[in-house]
């Protein structure tokens, strides 16, 4: 499995938005932690990391122990430290917020400890005693990897199937590069796989190349963690012009290859979620002069994080609120030249006769990702509602021995949610298998 990335890929120009701590800075911040009892930061972490304990370990210069505390709850704690929206999770719940003091920088402390573990090559986990059971994790992203690692620790034989080339899922191909670059995610996957015995099959598509029945004949349990589909596109006039592409697709290209945007004068990103906010900031970071965020609602209606939008604004991104795309125009080379928007009212309803045209030679569509479609056809008992796989609280689907977690289950949340769901499903799978269950046909 060659996971080498080109050195000159476009994301190489980005620097970390949040700088790493030095030893002294980390210890000073760790010593500020109040070491709350029954701390709200633990409650607000989807993976339930014991934050006060790992921070106290940093303060006491037990960095290896701090990292283990993190990995015990979240095996992707290194990337989560960088990509988690801590402002709305652990840091947002820090009790210091109630006394007008700066909250503890939990994400930066988590990065300090987990980076140290990576740089030093510390590993903490060994495969459990062989149970003779075989589990397949479909998809190579955070949910599957977290499930695979937990299952391996429990002694099961684990296979991960990835349809693409790179492991890590959106952690590798979709994270804003000023938070984490692709190579970091890939080395995290290598570190995770160092537990040994996790079989990787990449370039294999389920169910096209390998059917669910094939999997059921080979494995005792199936974990589905294959995320969402491709970017949703628009069926509007000239929406298929060159230069109109999905935002997730664009971000992946930027992270994995040396794309060139130096000729782009005016870029528009359509959407109001976090993918849109990542995309506008990345376009500015790549040097695009004019970047517009076009959203059909108002500023307060965006689903993207307010702290990310605040940064985007200071970086020079211009908003166009209440703007719903109506049509695209293309030049003689059929390259996009402008987008015309229908103006909307406060209830996101069209205002008759009001339109606006903005010039553009690059348009990214961040209006959601396609749902699962027919991917799960052939799994009797598994239900899909609103494009999401239906499970119980532990991730069990209606199909015997088939579990799911991550974006395909929750519709698209954070990496940390995917890890939590993968881990939880793995524990449920373990109970299922140890109780004599199997999905084998």
């Amino acid at each position: 499995m060659n996971q080498k990335l080109p050195e000159d890929r476009a994301e190489a120009v980005f620097e970390d938005f949040k700088r790493a701590y030095t030893d002294e800075q980390a210890r000073a911040e760790a010593n500020r932690c109040l070491y709350c009892y029954d701390a709200p930061c633990i409650q607000s972490c989807p993976t339930g990391i014991d934050v006060p304990t790992f921070i106290r370990r940093i303060a006491n210069e037990n960095v290896s122990g701090a990292a283990q505390t993190i990995f015990d709850s979240n095996i992707l704690g290194m990337s989560c430290a960088r990509v988690c929206p801590v402002e709305t999770l652990c840091v947002g719940s820090c009790v210091y917020n109630h006394m007008d003091s700066p909250a503890i920088q939990i994400g930066k402390l988590q990065r300090y400890a987990t980076d140290a573990a990576f740089e030093a090559g510390w590993t903490y986990y060994e495969a459990g005693e062989d149970t003779g059971k075989k589990v397949v994790c479909v998809g190579g992203g955070p949910a599957s990897l977290a499930a695979a690692h937990r299952l391996r620790r429990q002694g099961h034989q684990v296979t991960v199937i990835e349809k693409g080339h790179f492991l890590g899922g959106l952690n590798t191909t979709g994270i804003a590069s000023y938070k984490m670059k692709a190579d970091r995610s890939i080395s995290e996957v290598e570190w995770l796989l160092s537990i040994g015995g996790i079989d990787i099959r990449s370039g294999v598509s389920v169910p096209d190349q390998l059917s669910w029945d094939d999997l059921k004949s080979e494995f005792d349990a199936i974990f589905i963690g294959f995320g969402l589909g491709e970017d949703s596109l628009l069926s509007l006039p000239s929406a298929d012009s060159e230069g109109v592409i999905g935002a997730v697709d664009f971000i992946a290209q930027m992270k994995l290859s040396p794309i060139d945007v130096s000729s782009v004068q005016n870029a528009i990103v359509i959407g109001g979620g976090n993918t849109a906010l990542d995309a506008v900031r990345e376009l500015r970071g790549l040097g695009v002069e004019s970047v517009t965020l076009a959203y059909r609602g108002g500023e307060s209606q965006m689903s993207g994080y307010a702290h990310e939008w605040a940064e985007a604004k200071t970086e020079g991104v211009v908003p166009s609120w209440r703007s719903q795309p109506l049509s695209f125009a293309a030049d003689a080379d059929s390259r996009v030249s402008s987008v015309t928007f229908q103006m909307m009212d406060e209830n996101k309803q069209p205002i008759s006769g009001q339109t606006k045209t903005i010039p553009a030679d690059l348009v990214l569509l961040a209006i959601g990702q396609g749902k699962l479609g027919s991917l799960t056809t052939g799994l009797d008992g598994l239900q899909v509602e609103w494009g999401k796989i239906v499970t119980d609280d532990d991730g069990a689907t209606g199909a015997q021995g088939v579990y799911a977690g991550g974006d395909c289950r929750n519709g698209g949340k954070e990496v940390v949610n995917a890890v939590a769901e993968g881990d939880q499903a793995a524990q449920a799978i373990h109970s299922f298998l140890m109780g004599g269950g199997s999905c084998r046909t």
């Binding site: 210890r27 000073a28 760790a30 010593n31 500020r32 109040l34 070491y35 709350c36 009892y37 029954d38 701390a39 709200p40 303060a59 009790v95 210091y96 109630h98 006394m99």
Partner: protein, 428 residues
């Protein structure tokens, strides 16, 4: 404006802030800079037969990110010649005639004492301080704390010095004793004009656990040194106060031990010090710290209506009581201000694990813990651990019992209030 002039056993200085005998007073050039910065007095780095020092010499305790909360040293007395020191002392006094220069001395024989005292007087020193306190190196040679720990020797050498000295004599006491009072009384009996305390506390500041060598590491070994800095202040305050309230002790005190700012100085003065001496904080921050010591003390005196330092000396001594004379019927309980509480639960865990199990989780689903006042013993632990200023306060409870002490109870059978927080201890 209040008058900051200080008089310690006849040694007059423009303010009560002296540099203690230590590295900051190693040379005339340093002391000139210190006086220019505002220090009122300086006790010269102890003079005697020049010694040879080691590298390294200092160690600091890092505690929760705070550097040098405690400090220690294995440095000895001056390593410079007596000629150079006395020449510089004379020059300092020529330039700063109104500042106090105290000559700290440590020698062995009677003849040596006579010589260094006369040379100090000739150099213009305002007083003599006898170093009977150094707990490392010099005591192995029969000096320093080896003298200070033996009241009879202390008294005898003090009386020699007094017979040779026409200027005030302070005896610097070592804290490395069980009870400071007999040592202060011995100095007084020897004729001392005053005492200064505390010298450093015999200590090992830490261990290099990678090399398994006590710190500070000198080559491949370490030795015990003298502990000082902010961490020792409570010990020093007690020793100063123990002398100040002893009815048989009636000579002035120069207070030393962990003074870092004007507040610390006021505490020492309130417990009986006429002046305070500072070393560690100057080693960590420089002579300039005296600027706020003077400013803060001045503002405090204006606010409190004190005109002179003398008015404050010993002001808190009458309230320093034996435990047995405390009002055992005084009762207080913890109150948590729900508007200020941030929900960290530190009070709860501290009370449960470290006190009397009377603070419990919120019962209404909120973040504010609940104090069971019927079990709260009023110990203060929760108030100490609470990170929010004024969130937990200890509130007096009117329990109807008249003021009364344990000693009174023993002698007169007076009523004492029932105990709280004992829980019956019904272990399974």
């Amino acid at each position: 404006m209040p008058d900051l002039t200080s008089n310690t056993a006849g040694i007059i200085s423009p303010n009560p802030f002296w540099l203690a005998s230590a590295p900051p007073t190693n040379s005339g050039r340093q002391i000139i800079r210190a006086f220019e910065a505002g220090w009122g007095g300086a006790v010269w780095k102890t003079l005697g037969q020049p010694i040879q020092n080691v590298s390294s010499r200092f160690g600091g305790i890092q505690w929760r990110g705070q550097r040098a909360a405690g400090f220690n040293n294995v440095e000895l007395i001056t390593d410079r010649s007596l000629d150079a020191n006395f020449k510089e002392m004379a020059e300092v006094k020529r330039l700063f005639p109104k500042h106090a220069v105290i000559s700290s001395l440590m020698v062995e024989t009677k003849e040596e004492w006579k010589e260094v005292i006369q040379r100090s007087i000739d150099a213009g020193a305002d007083g003599i301080e006898l170093n009977f306190g150094c707990p490392h190196g010099m005591c192995e040679r029969g000096m320093g704390s080896a003298v200070g720990q033996e009241p009879a020797v202390n008294k005898e050498i003090t009386s020699w010095v007094k017979s040779y000295s026409s200027i005030p004599v302070l005896v610097k006491l070592t804290p490395n004793v069980g009870d400071i009072v007999p040592h202060g009384l011995a100095a007084q009996a020897g004729g001392a004009d005053g005492v200064s305390l505390i010298n450093t506390i015999k200590s090992i500041i830490g261990v290099d656990i990678d090399r398994m060598i006590p710190e500070p590491v000198v080559g491949n070994k370490g030795s015990n040194g003298g502990y000082c800095g902010a961490a020792v202040r409570p010990i020093a305050l007690h020793m100063v106060a123990a002398l100040a309230r002893d009815p048989g002790f009636n000579i002035p005190v120069s207070g030393i031990g962990g003074v870092t700012n004007w507040r610390d100085a006021v505490e020492f003065i309130a417990l009986g010090s006429s002046s305070v001496q500072v070393c560690t904080e100057v080693m960590l921050r420089g002579y300039r710290i005296v600027e706020d010591m003077i400013d803060g003390l001045t503002r405090f005196m204006v606010e409190q209506g004190f005109q002179t330092i003398d008015e404050m000396v010993g002001k808190a001594v009458p309230a320093y009581s034996e435990w047995g004379d405390l009002d055992i019927n005084f009762e207080s309980v913890a109150k948590i201000d729900p508007d200020k509480c941030i929900g960290c639960n530190r009070c709860m865990v501290a009370c449960h694990d470290g006190a009397h199990q009377c603070i419990h989780p919120s019962t209404d689903g909120g973040i504010v813990p609940v104090v069971d006042e019927s079990e709260c013993v009023g110990c203060n632990l929760c108030e100490i651990v609470c990170p929010v200023p004024d969130c937990i306060t200890m509130v007096e409870v009117d329990n109807g019992f008249p003021e009364g002490s344990w000693n009174e109870h023993l002698t007169t059978g007076s009523t004492i209030r029932p105990k709280k927080g004992s829980h019956g201890y019904d272990m399974p």
